[in-house]
Symmetry: C2
Subunit: 475 residues, 2 copies
């Protein structure tokens, strides 16, 4: 007997090459997996369920996949946009005071935000502070967690001039690899595969070559991917050219890093040729349109990556300067930014970005056997949206069906009313069942204020670029 | 005695050159106008009110200004994006079947959508079908209504080849001018100035010169602005060069059209030099970032216009291809698109686009004496936002105040809980008091389906570009 039968819905199954629309569709869920998908009239005949949910006026689709985030920075949301050099001139003074309590408060806030906007998979990249994995485990969400690895000096690089080669500290590299490995071996496929992990050398410029290679080997031994910021900025490219005489993509190819195992994040500085090289190697791309748009004013080459046959997942990156964890935002911005970049309104249409947020995203994370579409046998990660809100109406069935463009270009995420992950309701009627949302909201305010108060008392804050905007009365 | 006293709020008064933030602020409203603004501690002493509203954990700011819309097309939301030539290859087949009932259904839907996202002023541009003005009047919203004027043949221009000069029909021009004038004289400053009007020659390429000049004169006689699509596309520029030997901006200067009376819409095709010319003349600009981004892949030159000292209002344009009427969307996209256009993350920061959505928008419409900021004596058009939602938290007060960037880059519009226009609650606790939202949502679905069914039965639909996407299973 099925646990749940949803009926009378617009289904976007995302199976096949398009959006897999089913009119008046139904979906049955049993033991965490999709048992049947099809016409309501058929499933009503063939399925007996403990609970039947009338999803009339709803759209049911796969849960959204946020493939690259630094969720903890939600605790300092909004301190690092509208400036050059956002990391040093905006985030760094706050980062300095990110205690584990602040880290966890921000992470939990981002999880709440994401669930409410339909995210079911959280691809978080972070220092593995105690309790980090538990945030996702206890929230009942799917996660791909990557513990940060690098061999940069633990005490920071304050004395360094711009353009100096980063000093590598091999002992520090070993420490972060060991820490990550302990985390990985503890959490790999935990909770029946709901929590997944990757190895995460932070960037090819931030770790010595031997240890960089070691990460790939250790990941391969465990059947895991490597999650690497790649061609993410001009500083990285400068480091690579100075250290190895090559830009990142050519160097990665030379050392054998370009293959299906790699999730290459950002590619902000990759040329079209470099992007094609990476895509054709089988490597995957994580695209953070909102973040890179705000902090760099750049549109990464995801369209080229797709054209070359690669899979792209979307990521909300970090809220210090994005400033939200909302994959509806990322889908819309990805379509619009690329239309503008190529001065072509046909670029990355609604359905293509919807695929990036679902099935292509799952492919990019190596999880498309289990999630990303509504197909029999896959895990039941799905969301139900109210499509009777004024901002998405009318839903016309033909000659042009308006559901997908209206969701992509007009939905805000607040249309999501239910979220099911692994066959369990994590959110129902917009109430999250698995956590105390009110307490999390209060706590992120408290922890954010503690961090901010420490920043205010620290002379380093005087260098923050946004202080000028404060003084001018613009904030 | 004041009618209302809001207290304990974050105020964004938008007075002065910045955002006019007041911590723990209060605002008193009496007889439709703002009676006092300041610290809660002060107003609690000085103001006696019939009702006191505790706005703790809320942000109160001026209502948002949507300076350019074609609201009726909400009835065919989503039929004209992701294609070239959106108007002919997407919208036109639907436009053909826009009955007055469909027109009004779409307009009402857009008004609901706008109110719920914090819009208090609707700058609608349309054929003045019976009942059009009443939609805004009865909804209790502020409006600037412009009835379309042109001298294009009423039967359409089906026989015309691309590049042929549009034939002008002077009798048709007179008919539309007379119709608009009747509307204007009926509605100008109606409802104690809540409903405002402009003269609206559709574009300098769509009406004969004498009648174009006549519009400006008739507007001037009444102290009104002219609302004109200006340099909106390459077809317009082509018409102008062929007919008058000059591109639009130079021609408008020559005939004396460039002055404070002009609201120039789009400027999609204006060069930076032309944009500066228009801005320095005192003319105003309406910027539709979302719409022009989706349908053209272009970022209009609003940043140049602002740098040259001009005032810019934002507009949601039309939902056939935008696909929403949400000024939060327009503010965010305006900032991000321009950061990308100029590859500079400091371009159009949060506070500047917030000004475009409020006080600068009011200036662009010639209404800044009455609205656009929370200042004593101005009309009480204001919105209250819940700033305890996870997507905008935390709200940090210093050293960097995060309220404005978090609203601009992370709010969706759904944070708006109350909307007051002319001192009256139009929406309270997200319930719109002035109209039957449920009936409007049902009606736009019904009317949209009627239009779509007519399109489906018409051979003209076979030329629609999105049919290919339908056939491919992408919609």
């Amino acid at each position: 007997m099925a646990d749940y039968l949803f009926e009378n819905a617009h289904l976007l199954t995302m199976s096949g090459d398009g959006v897999g629309y089913v009119r008046n569709g139904a979906i049955a869920v049993e033991n965490g997996r999709i048992k049947a998908v099809g016409a309501t009239s058929d499933l009503k005949q063939s399925v007996v369920a403990k609970e039947t949910i009338d999803a009339r006026n709803m759209c049911i689709m796969p849960g959204l996949i946020d493939g690259h985030m630094h969720a903890s920075y939600a605790v300092v949301r909004g301190v690092a946009q509208d400036i050059w050099n956002w990391m040093q001139a905006g985030l760094a003074p706050y980062h300095k005071y990110m205690t584990p309590a602040a880290f966890l408060a921000g992470t939990r806030c981002a999880v709440v935000e994401g669930i409410k906007a339909g995210t079911t998979l959280f691809g978080d990249y972070a220092w593995p502070v105690d309790g980090w994995g538990d945030v996702f485990a206890s929230a009942g969400v799917r996660a791909v967690l990557t513990a940060r690895i690098n061999s940069l000096p633990a005490q920071g690089m304050a004395g360094l001039k711009i353009g100096d080669l980063y000093p590598f500290d091999e002992a520090r590299g070993k420490e972060t690899i060991d820490q990550a490995t302990a985390f990985i071996d503890n959490w790999n496929r935990a909770y029946d595969g709901r929590i997944n992990v990757m190895y995460g050398p932070q960037g090819p410029d931030m770790i010595g070559l031997d240890q960089f290679m070691e990460c790939k080997k250790m990941a391969a031994d465990r059947g895991l991917m490597v999650h690497v910021h790649t061609a993410q900025g001009d500083r990285e490219i400068d480091q690579m050219v100075k250290r190895y005489g090559e830009r990142t993509p050519a160097f990665l190819q030379e050392i054998g890093y370009l293959d299906e195992q790699l999730l290459a994040v950002h590619l902000t500085e990759a040329t079209d040729e470099e992007t094609e090289l990476i895509a054709k190697s089988g490597a995957k791309m994580a695209l953070c349109s909102g973040s890179i748009g705000i902090i760099d004013g750049i549109v990464p080459p995801a369209h080229v990556f797709r054209q070359a046959g690669g899979s792209v997942c979307l990521g909300s990156d970090q809220a210090a300067g994005n400033n939200c964890h909302n994959i509806w935002n990322e889908m819309k911005l990805t379509s619009l930014f690329n239309k503008i970049k190529y001065k072509d309104p046909t670029t990355l249409p609604a359905w293509e970005v919807l695929r990036m947020g679902t099935i292509e995203g799952a492919k990019a994370l190596g999880l498309d056997d289990e999630i990303g579409s509504l197909e029999v046998g896959k895990k039941a990660d799905l969301i139900c949206l109210d499509v009777t809100e004024a901002n998405v109406l009318p839903i016309l069935d033909g000659p042009i069906r308006t559901l997908v463009p209206n969701l992509i270009f007009a939905a805000t995420g607040r249309e999501v009313v239910h979220s099911m992950i692994d066959g369990k309701f994590v959110m129902r009627d917009r109430i999250i069942n698995t956590l105390d949302e009110q307490a999390i909201r209060e706590n992120v305010q408290i922890q954010g204020e503690i961090v901010a108060n420490n920043v205010a008392a620290d002379p380093v804050q005087r260098s923050m670029k946004l202080l000028e905007a404060m003084e001018a009365g613009n904030l």
